[in-house]
Symmetry: C2
Subunit: 359 residues, 2 copies
């Protein structure tokens, strides 16, 4: 398998390159997830989320599930954003009904000193095996997206030890020991670059960085602790790639204030949440990169007719801000799908995107 | 007692009117709260948060506690943002370790039809009694702020039945039955206006509306379901007031995209969270109203020296965006204090604001 083998449906990759397409491509964050009964069945067989994510066959199975139901324009590797710190030895686990946690969070300078970039083909081999298997099973129907958490977002979990209400530990470190936090972010950045490069080598045809928690930072801290590391990832991933390079999407919750800066990092696309009109985002990005987003996921709690109207608004808003053209837009939600969402509503959304964006 | 009786420390009211002051005034959202041991002691005596909020003597006691410790420039009524829907008959309660909940949330058109504006001097008399008592006990040392939740924020709790992760019920109503949601918001708005007016009559010298959840809405929904009701409150509260009117502050988490619109509502001040530089906020508000905010509350996890630097940045950023003047700025956090914060750090913050802003 090579990256050059073209996908039969290449709308997604063309849109990321801002090339003309017949319809706006669509995929959905967490499209392989608990809202699908077949996903819940696989998970029950696997025993746990992590067992499923660490088993390439099961990861492949759930990656493909939403594609069997909906005419999505991309697949995304089924995995977790925290595989990298897990491979660093922090001990990822999921307490029932809670989010991810680490058994050995970073608490001291010694903990920081021990951090190093994991080996991709041993400690994270299960991810690369999953990428290779999914590519094989996809038969180039649609492109496969690989991904990672951002350096800042990984650091949040590594230092807080899990989810957090006010990010007290990492913000205390940012204030009291910023050099120490930068060391964590340096290691994370090197690891994310190696991780995304390895996924690309294994066959990922596009890459997304999830900066899930960048938006909890005020502007000065965002520009010190998140943005420069995103920019380094974008720069390093381009190095040595030819014109056929694997496009990169920088997604971030709460990244609307920084669109111009993100568009200037060298990334191919920026993914935005639902707190900004796509038209405004497109105007500010000004054709420099592609734009991904941005329906409020809660739109899926609406009836199909309401979903369709929201899709229409988003499509039209993008075109209005993009000089009348729908090109350069990848349709997505502004955040992931939730377990209580109705698959029929997801079908209505995907159908509406394709129907209402036909050129 | 009359509103005309001047407070000895009137920096806060002068800043809200954009008049010159000797130092930038400061108060802190949730300044009377669990981070104070004396608050925890009063709460233990009261038995519960609600018992404390509904008892004017205890509400007065905890309102005054932070003023005994710190040279704050305003007191804020100790109460809950959900007193109004509680008085509408929804049955507010607090489950241990969880946020506020309602026993009888709004689930149907019939529930909506039953909603009405509560009587302020009977059903909410305990709040007005607390305002009167606090004013008496304050002896005009500093002004007293009254407050309410915003119509949208009240509706979130009334419809979700408590806190929410993705606001699925109220957003479903916004999409599937917008007219029904507008009816809820109409009643809430009338109730908030009556509630704030009654607090003013009882002696509140400034009023703040907390739009805690406005920021979960995308722009189109914010402009349909939150902003117009905030604007109506600002307009109605001005009606019939003379030049000595009681200033109004519209605070909202995630309101940065709408500063120009908020400044145009007729409010006296806008309160912002920490996700925008004060300088940018001041430039966009352009002297039309005062600005309140906006340190990241997590700054209090930093050491006093770091807190001082963050205070300096915020003060300087405001002045830079306000044509070099520190006037028209009320210092505050971008959100409330948390129970695990150190009162000595709060002292350092208040001291730094006064020291670094002396004219």
């Amino acid at each position: 398998m090579t990256q050059a083998s073209p996908s039969r449906n290449d709308r997604f990759l063309r849109a990321l390159r801002r090339e003309p397409v017949d319809r706006t491509p669509v995929w959905l964050m967490r499209q392989a997830g608990r809202y699908l009964p077949e996903y819940r069945a696989t998970r029950a067989r696997a025993g746990s989320f992590l067992a499923m994510a660490k088993n390439p066959e099961l990861a492949c199975e759930v990656t493909l599930q939403p594609l069997a139901r909906f005419p999505l324009d991309a697949a995304i590797l089924f995995s977790d954003i925290l595989t990298v710190p897990d491979a660093m030895g922090l001990g990822l686990y999921f307490a029932e009904g809670e989010g991810p946690k680490f058994e050995r969070p970073i608490r001291s300078e010694e903990d920081v000193a021990k951090l190093s970039v994991p080996d991709m083909e041993t400690e994270l081999r299960y991810v690369m095996d999953a990428v290779r298997l999914i590519r094989r099973e996809l038969h180039d129907r649609v492109p496969l997206i690989g991904f990672s958490g951002s350096p800042w977002t990984l650091a949040c979990y590594m230092i807080e030890g899990g989810g957090s209400e006010n990010f007290s530990k990492i913000k205390a470190m940012a204030l009291n020991a910023p050099a120490l936090l930068h060391r964590v972010l340096e290691v994370n950045t090197a690891a994310v670059i190696a991780y995304l490069s390895a996924q690309r080598t294994a066959g990922a045809q596009a890459l997304q960085v999830f900066d899930t928690w960048g938006g909890v930072l005020g502007p000065a801290m965002y520009r010190e602790f998140s943005l420069p590391y995103l920019a380094r990832i974008a720069r390093e991933l381009r190095r040595g790639e030819d014109a056929e390079r694997t496009p990169l999407i920088l997604f971030g919750k709460g990244n609307a204030p920084y669109l111009e800066e993100l568009a200037g990092t060298g990334t191919d696309a920026v993914g935005v949440d639902w707190l900004i009109e796509l038209g405004e985002a497109a105007r500010r990005i000004d054709g420099r990169v592609a734009l991904q987003g941005n329906l409020d996921p809660a739109t899926l709690y609406g009836k199909p007719a309401a979903i369709r109207e929201q899709v229409r608004s988003a499509l039209d808003s993008y075109a209005e801000g993009n000089g009348g053209s729908r090109d350069g837009h990848v349709f997505n939600l502004g955040h992931g799908l939730s377990p209580d969402m109705n698959p029929e509503h997801v079908a209505a959304l995907v159908e509406a995107v394709h129907a209402l964006s036909a050129r």
